[in-house]
C-alpha cells in the first residue's frame, strides 16, 4: 500500500536496504558456522594433521562472532530507517487530513481517527521491519543454502530448494489466509471497544447515579468478547503456519540424509561432506521459519494501509482552484462587500442541500444576525463562508466568486467562532496564540477581557499559563465558548462569523459578552448565527432563515464537524 503517499526518500530506502543486507549476512554467517563445523568434525574424525584444519577452525571462530555483531547492526539500522519512514508517513497523512477537514472526512469517529493515525501508521512501519526485512534475508539465505547444497549434491539441492519454497509459500499463506478476516475484525472491534470504554468512563457518574452502570458495562464488554473471539481465530492459524514450516524442515532433513547416504554409498559424495549436507537444511530453515509471523505482520499492515488509503484517497470536499484569483476582495482594505444569491450548499454524501435559495448582501462593517430554527442551515452557511464546502448559486466577496479563491486566503479574511471550537490540551496562552502567534501577553489578556473572561482569568492561579485539560475539560461549556470567542477577537479577521455565541451562557453574561464583543469588532463585518433573538443593539439587522423544504429530519448537521453526512 501507500506507494503513492509514502514517498520514501532515497536515504530511507538505502537504510532499509542496508538493514536487509546486514540481516542476510548474519543469517549466512549462521549457515556457514554450522556447515563448516560439520565439515570440521567430519574431517577431524579422519585424523589428518591438525594444520589441515586450521582454515576451518579459524572460519568457525570468525562466523561465531560475525553473526551476533551483524545482527546487532542490522537491528539498529533497520529500526532507525523504519522510525524515519514513519515520521514521513504520519506527516503525509496529516497533510491530507488538513485538506479534508472538516467536511471531507466521512462519518469516522474521532476516536477511530486517532487510532488510525497512530495504530495504522505504526502498523505500516511494522510491515517494513517485520514483513519486508525478514523476507528479504530469508530469500538471500535460501538462495545461498540451495547453491551450496547443489554444489555438494545436486539431488539434495533440489530437495532443499523445493522444501524451502514450500515452507516459504505454504506457511505464510496459511497464516495470512485465515487470519485476514480476523485481523480486519479486530481492528474494527478495537475501535468500537475503545470508543465504548471511553464513553462509559466519560458518562460514569450519570450511569452510576441511574444504577445502570452494570448494564452499560456489559454492553461495552460484549465488544471485548467479540475482540477475544477474533483473537482466538488468529491463534489457530499462527500455530498452523509454524507447523507447516517445521514439516517442510522434516522433509528437507530426511530428504538430504536419504540422498546423501545413497550418494555416499554410490561414491558420488565424499563422506566427509555428508554432515554438511545434513546440517545445511537445519540452518537454512531458521529464517524461513520466521516467515509466517512476517506474513501475518504484513497482513495486519495491509489492513492498516488500506484504511490509511481510505483517508488519503477521499475526495477533497472543496478543492482549491488550480489557478486561484489573487485575493484582494477589498482593495481599500477593510472588510469585503459580501453578496450572496440563490446560495445552495450540500454536505458531501448528503442527498439534499442543507441550505437552499439563500440571498443576503452584507455591506462592509455591517453587523447582521442570521436567525432560524435548528436545521435551517445556519451553520452550513458559516461553513460555506469559511470555504469549507462547495456551493451552487453565487457567493461573492468584492465581486469575485468565493470558489475562485484559495481556501486559506479566504480564512485569512473570515473567522469562525463555532459552538464546538476545540480547546487544545495545552496552556491558555497557547490556545489563544493559535489565532495570532505573535500576540503579547497583554493582547491575550485584553482579548479574554473582551470575551467576558476577566474575572475568570484573574481567578486562575497560573493565569495565562493555566493548562486546559483534556478536550478543555477543566473549563465549563460557557468558558470554552468564550475562550473560542477571545481567540477569534485576537485573530482580528475582517469578517467574523459567530455561531451561537450565547450557547451555554446565562442571559446577563451573554448580553455583556455580546456587547463588549460588538464594541471590539467595530468596523469589522460580523455575522451572528443564532436560533433565538439577540438583545437590542447588538446587530444592525436580522435575516430570517427557514429550513429548506422538505424539512430534513436532522436539525443541525453541522455542529458535529466529523459526522458530515447525517443519516436521513
Amino acid at each position: 500500500m501507500g506507494r503513492p503517499m509514502v514517498k520514501l526518500r532515497n536515504t530511507i530506502a538505502l537504510r532499509l536496504g542496508l538493514g536487509a543486507t546486514l540481516g542476510a549476512l548474519a543469517q549466512v554467517s549462521a549457515l556457514a558456522l554450522l556447515a563448516v563445523s560439520g565439515y570440521l568434525i567430519s574431517r577431524a574424525w579422519e585424523q589428518p594433521p591438525i594444520l589441515y584444519l586450521m582454515v576451518a577452525i579459524t572460519s568457525v571462530r570468525l562466523f561465531g562472532i560475525s553473526r551476533g555483531v551483524l545482527r546487532y547492526t542490522e537491528r539498529l539500522v533497520s529500526h532507525d530507517a523504519a522510525f524515519r519512514g514513519l515520521e514521513r508517513l504520519r506527516i503525509a497523512v496529516w497533510r491530507k487530513l488538513v485538506r479534508l477537514a472538516p467536511a471531507g472526512v466521512p462519518v469516522w469517529r474521532t476516536g477511530d481517527l486517532q487510532a488510525r493515525l497512530v495504530d495504522d501508521v505504526d502498523g505500516v512501519g511494522d510491515r517494513w521491519l517485520r514483513g519486508a526485512l525478514p523476507l528479504a534475508s530469508a530469500v538471500i539465505v535460501s538462495v545461498c543454502a540451495v547453491a551450496l547444497q547443489t554444489t555438494l549434491l545436486p539431488a539434495a539441492g533440489i530437495i532443499l530448494g523445493a522444501c524451502l519454497l514450500a515452507a516459504a509459500l505454504v506457511g505464510p499463506a496459511l497464516a495470512t489466509w485465515s487470519s485476514r478476516y480476523a485481523v480486519r475484525a479486530t481492528a474494527r472491534e478495537r475501535g468500537d471497544l475503545t470508543e465504548g470504554v471511553r464513553a462509559c468512563l466519560h458518562g460514569r457518574e450519570e450511569l452510576v447515579a441511574a444504577g445502570t452502570d452494570t448494564a452499560a458495562l456489559e454492553r461495552v464488554l460484549e465488544g471485548d468478547d467479540r475482540l477475544r473471539r477474533a483473537h482466538a481465530r488468529i491463534a489457530w492459524t499462527t500455530g498452523l503456519g509454524e507447523a507447516a514450516g517445521l514439516l517442510a524442515l522434516a522433509f528437507a532433513l530426511v530428504g538430504a540424509l536419504a540422498a546423501g547416504i545413497a550418494a555416499v554409498a554410490a561414491g558420488t559424495l565424499d563422506g566427509v561432506l555428508l554432515a554438511v549436507v545434513a546440517l545445511v537444511p537445519l540452518a537454512a530453515f531458521e529464517s524461513v521459519l520466521a516467515l509466517p509471523a512476517a506474513a501475518q505482520q504484513t497482513a495486519v499492515a495491509k489492513a492498516c494501509g488500506r484504511r490509511l488509503l481510505e483517508i488519503t484517497q477521499a475526495p477533497e470536499p472543496r478543492p482549491d482552484p488550480v489557478e486561484p484569483m489573487e485575493y484582494e476582495p477589498n482593495p481599500l482594505g477593510g472588510p469585503p462587500f459580501i453578496e450572496i444569491k440563490r446560495l445552495a450548499v450540500t454536505w458531501p454524501g448528503a442527498e439534499s442541500p442543507a441550505l437552499h435559495g439563500f440571498d443576503l448582501t452584507v455591506q462592509p462593517g455591517e453587523r447582521v444576525a442570521v436567525m432560524g430554527p435548528s436545521g435551517s442551515g445556519k451553520s452550513t452557511l458559516a461553513a460555506a463562508l469559511m470555504g469549507f464546502l462547495p456551493y451552487e448559486g453565487s457567493l461573492r466577496f468584492g465581486g469575485v466568486e468565493l470558489a475562485e479563491y484559495d481556501g486559506d486566503d479566504i480564512r485569512r479574511t473570515v473567522g469562525l467562532c463555532s459552538q464546538d471550537a476545540h480547546v487544545f490540551d495545552t496552556t491558555l496562552a497557547e490556545n489563544l496564540r493559535l489565532a495570532r502567534p505573535s500576540a503579547a501577553d497583554e493582547d491575550l489578556a485584553r482579548a479574554l477581557r473582551w470575551a467576558g473572561l476577566r474575572d475568570w482569568l484573574d481567578a486562575l492561579p497560573d493565569g495565562l499559563r493555566t493548562r486546559l485539560g483534556e478536550h478543555g475539560r477543566a473549563v465549563s461549556g460557557g468558558e470554552r465558548g468564550r475562550i473560542a470567542l477571545a481567540r477569534c477577537l485576537l485573530a482580528d479577521r475582517e469578517v467574523l462569523v459567530l455561531d451561537e455565541p450565547d450557547a451555554h451562557l446565562d442571559a446577563a453574561t451573554a448580553e455583556r459578552v455580546l456587547r463588549t464583543a460588538a464594541a471590539a469588532l467595530e468596523g469589522k463585518t460580523t455575522i451572528v448565527i443564532t436560533h433565538r433573538p439577540l438583545p437590542d443593539g447588538i446587530v444592525d439587522r436580522v435575516v430570517h432563515l427557514r429550513a429548506p423544504v422538505p424539512t430534513p429530519r436532522r436539525d443541525a448537521p453541522d455542529n458535529r464537524l466529523f459526522s458530515v453526512a447525517p443519516p436521513g
Binding site: G111, D119, W236, E242, L434
Partner: protein
C-alpha cells in the same frame, strides 16, 4: 528462571494469579516443552547416527531406512507439538486479557473520575492490555521451554561428552546474567517509552480533534513542524533505548554462536588427537554439535520476546494500579470526606469505619457499604425539601466556589439562573453524591445527605446531566439506560415521543456521531422521562435540558414535561426564558 526477569517478579506473579486457568496453562506448556525436548534430542541423535553410520560405518541405505523413518516421525511430532502449543497459548492469553479488562473497567466505574484522562485510560484498557498478547502467547511458553530444553540438552551432553556440557554450562548463564543487567538498565526507560507513546497518541488525538479549529485559523499546515518535532524526539528516544536493549540480544547471539564455534573446535581437536574414534565417536561429536544450538534457541527466543512483552507488562502494572485504588463509596457517611480526610488510600479506611459505625447504628452489619438493598434509612419521602447550608465546593487547584445557602422548596419547580461557572452543575452532582462540599451541609428534609444511604438517594432522583452519555446501539437501547431493571417497549416509545427524540431504531455511536447535538440532548431527555415514569422519583434534576433546542422544540418538550413536575421537587439549571417561565421560583447567586 525468574532471574531472567528484571521486572519485579510480583507483576508476573500477579498477572498469573489473575489468569484463571493459568496454572493449568503453565502445566500444559511444561508438558509440551518436555515432549518437544525429547523430540529435539531424539532427532539430533537419529541425525548424528545416520551420518556416522553412512560415513564412518559405511552402512548401506537399506540398513539405515528404519532410522530415517523414525527421524521423519520424530520431526513430524515436533511440528504438531509446536502448533498445539501456539494455539493453546493464544487462547489462554485471550482469556486472561478479557478478565483483566473486565476487572479494570468494573473498578473504574466505582472510582471517582478525578482528572483521569478518559482517552488515555481507554487506550490503556484496549491497546495496552492487548499488548499482553506477546507476553502470554510467546514470552511465557518460551520461558518454560528455556528451562526445560537446556536441562534436557545438558543431561544428554553430560552423558555423551562431558566437555561439551561444561562449555554450555559456562556460557548459558551469561545470557540471563546480561539479560538482567541490561534489562535493569532499560526498565525505567521502557516505562518512559510507553508513557511517551501514550503522550504521542494523545497529542495526535488532540490535534485531530482540533483540526477544524486549526484550519479555521490557518494553522493546520503549520502543525506539520510540531508533529515533526514530536515524532523526531520520539524516534531519538526510542533509538537510544534500543541501542542498549539490543545489547542483551547481542550477548545472547554471541554466547550462542561462539559456544557452538568453541564446541566444534574442541570436539574437532579431540577427534584429531584420537580422543573419540570409530562410528560411535563421530556420532557423539555430531550429536553435541547439533544439540548445542538447540540449548540456546529458547533462550534467544525469550530474549526476543522479552522486550516485545515489556510494553504489555508496563500496561499491566498501570492496570494493577487502577485495581489498587480505593473505590468511591456508594454507602453513607460522607461527612468524613467533607471534612477533607477522604483523600486517596485513606478514604477506604474512612469508608469502612463509617460503614461500621452505620452498621452499629442500624444493627445490620457492614453491608451498607456497597449493597443497594441495605437501607439504613428509608428513601426520600414524597417531594422533599432540599437544603444547602453554608455549603462550599472546591476543585483542586482552583479557587473554591462562593459559600452557598439555599433552600429548594418541596413539590415546586426551582430554576437556577446563576451565571455560567457559578457551580450549578456541581450543585446537582453533589445531590447524587459525586461532589462533596468542603464545608457546610446538604440536607433532604431534615436528614443530612451524609447520613442517608446513597444508593437509596440515587434511586429517588432522576438526573439529566448537561451531556448525557451515549453508548453504541439504537436510540431505544440508549433510552433504556434510564433504569437498572429494563423497561417495556411501550414505556420507551412513550418517553421517546414525549421528549421528541429521534426514532427508536436509529443507531447511535458512543461518541454521539449519527445524532446532532440537539438530538443527543433529546435522547438524554427521553431517558430522563422514562426514569421518572418507571421509578416515580420525588426529586428531578435537570442541567441545561434545552440548551441545544430551538424555541419551538423547547416549548414542545417543556409542555410534555409539565405533568411530571407535579408533586415533585424539581431543580433546573437554565437561562432560557421558556424554562424560566415554568419556574415557581428562580434562584440566582
Amino acid at each position: 528462571m525468574t532471574t531472567l526477569a528484571p521486572r519485579p517478579a510480583n507483576v508476573d506473579r500477579r498477572l498469573l494469579h489473575r489468569a484463571r486457568g493459568a496454572t493449568l496453562f503453565i502445566g500444559v506448556c511444561a508438558a509440551l516443552g518436555v515432549a518437544r525436548t525429547a523430540c529435539v534430542v531424539a532427532g539430533a541423535w537419529l541425525t548424528a547416527s545416520l551420518i556416522a553410520g553412512a560415513f564412518a560405518g559405511g552402512r548401506s541405505v537399506d540398513s539405515l531406512t528404519p532410522q530415517l523413518i523414525a527421524l521423519a516421525a520424530v520431526l513430524t511430532l515436533r511440528a504438531l507439538l509446536a502448533s498445539v502449543q501456539e494455539a493453546a497459548a493464544h487462547r489462554a492469553g485471550a482469556v486472561v486479557k478479557s478478565g483483566l479488562r473486565r476487572q479494570a473497567l468494573e473498578r473504574l466505574m466505582r472510582l471517582p473520575s478525578g482528572n483521569r484522562h478518559t482517552g488515555e485510560t481507554a487506550a490503556l484498557l484496549v491497546r495496552g492490555i492487548d499488548a499482553l498478547d506477546d507476553y502470554f502467547a510467546r514470552y511465557l511458553p518460551q520461558l518454560v521451554l528455556a528451562v526445560v530444553v537446556p536441562v534436557g540438552v545438558l543431561v544428554v551432553m553430560l552423558v555423551a561428552y562431558p566437555p561439551a556440557a561444561l562449555i554450555v554450562l559456562i556460557t548459558l548463564p551469561l545470557i540471563p546474567l546480561f539479560g538482567v543487567l541490561i534489562g535493569r538498565y532499560t526498565r525505567t526507560r521502557a516505562e518512559r517509552q510507553w508513557a511517551s507513546t501514550s503522550h504521542l497518541a494523545h497529542h495526535f488525538a488532540d490535534l485531530v480533534a482540533g483540526l477544524p479549529t486549526l484550519k479555521a485559523f490557518g494553522r493546520a499546515s503549520k502543525q506539520v513542524g510540531a508533529i515533526e518535532v514530536t515524532t523526531g524526539a520520539y524516534r531519538r528516544r526510542s533509538m537510544s533505548l534500543l541501542r542498549v536493549a539490543f545489547c542483551s540480544a547481542l550477548v545472547l547471539e554471541l554466547a550462542a554462536s561462539l559456544s557452538v564455534a568453541v564446541l566444534a573446535v574442541t570436539v574437532g581437536i579431540d577427534l584429531v588427537e584420537g580422543g573419540m574414534t570409530g562410528e560411535a565417536g563421530l556420532r557423539t561429536a555430531l550429536l553435541v554439535l547439533i544439540l548445542a544450538p538447540e540449548a540456546y534457541l529458547p533462550l534467544r527466543n525469550v530474549g526476543a520476546h522479552y522486550h516485545a512483552s515489556a510494553e504489555g507488562l508496563a500496561a499491566a502494572e498501570k492496570v494493577f494500579a487502577i485495581l489498587a485504588e480505593a473505590p468511591e463509596r456508594t454507602g453513607a457517611a460522607l461527612e468524613e470526606e467533607a471534612s477533607g480526610q477522604g483523600a486517596g488510600g485513606r478514604s477506604q479506611r474512612a469508608g469502612r469505619r463509617s460503614a461500621a459505625a452505620l452498621g452499629q447504628r442500624t444493627g445490620k452489619g457492614s453491608a451498607a457499604l456497597t449493597s443497594s438493598a441495605a437501607l439504613s434509612h428509608p428513601p426520600l419521602g414524597r417531594a422533599p425539601t432540599i437544603m444547602f447550608r453554608r455549603t462550599v465546593f472546591a476543585y483542586p487547584g482552583r479557587q473554591p466556589l462562593p459559600e452557598l445557602s439555599l433552600t429548594i422548596p418541596a413539590g415546586r419547580t426551582t430554576v437556577l439562573t446563576a451565571r455560567s461557572g457559578a457551580g450549578k452543575s456541581t450543585l446537582m452532582a453533589s445531590l447524587v453524591g459525586f461532589r462533596q462540599p468542603v464545608s457546610g451541609s446538604i440536607a433532604f428534609d431534615d436528614t443530612e445527605l451524609s447520613g442517608l444511604d446513597l444508593a437509596a438517594v440515587r434511586r429517588s432522583i432522576a438526573w439529566l446531566p448537561q451531556r448525557p452519555v451515549l453508548i453504541d446501539g439504537t436510540v431505544a437501547e440508549n433510552v433504556r439506560l434510564a433504569v437498572p431493571d429494563g423497561a417495556s417497549d411501550p414505556a420507551v416509545a412513550k418517553a421517546i415521543a414525549a421528549a421528541h427524540a429521534p426514532a427508536a431504531t436509529r443507531t447511535v455511536s458512543a461518541d454521539g456521531s449519527g445524532l446532532s447535538a440537539g438530538e443527543a440532548a433529546r435522547v438524554g431527555l427521553a431517558r430522563f422521562l422514562l426514569r421518572v415514569d418507571l421509578l416515580d422519583p420525588p426529586v428531578l434534576l435537570l442541567d441545561e435540558p434545552t440548551a441545544h433546542l430551538d424555541t419551538d422544540t423547547e416549548q414542545a418538550v417543556l409542555d410534555a414535561f409539565a405533568p411530571y413536575r407535579d408533586q415533585r421537587t424539581v431543580l433546573i439549571a437554565s437561562h432560557r426564558p421558556a424554562v424560566r417561565a415554568i419556574a415557581d421560583r428562580e434562584v440566582d447567586w
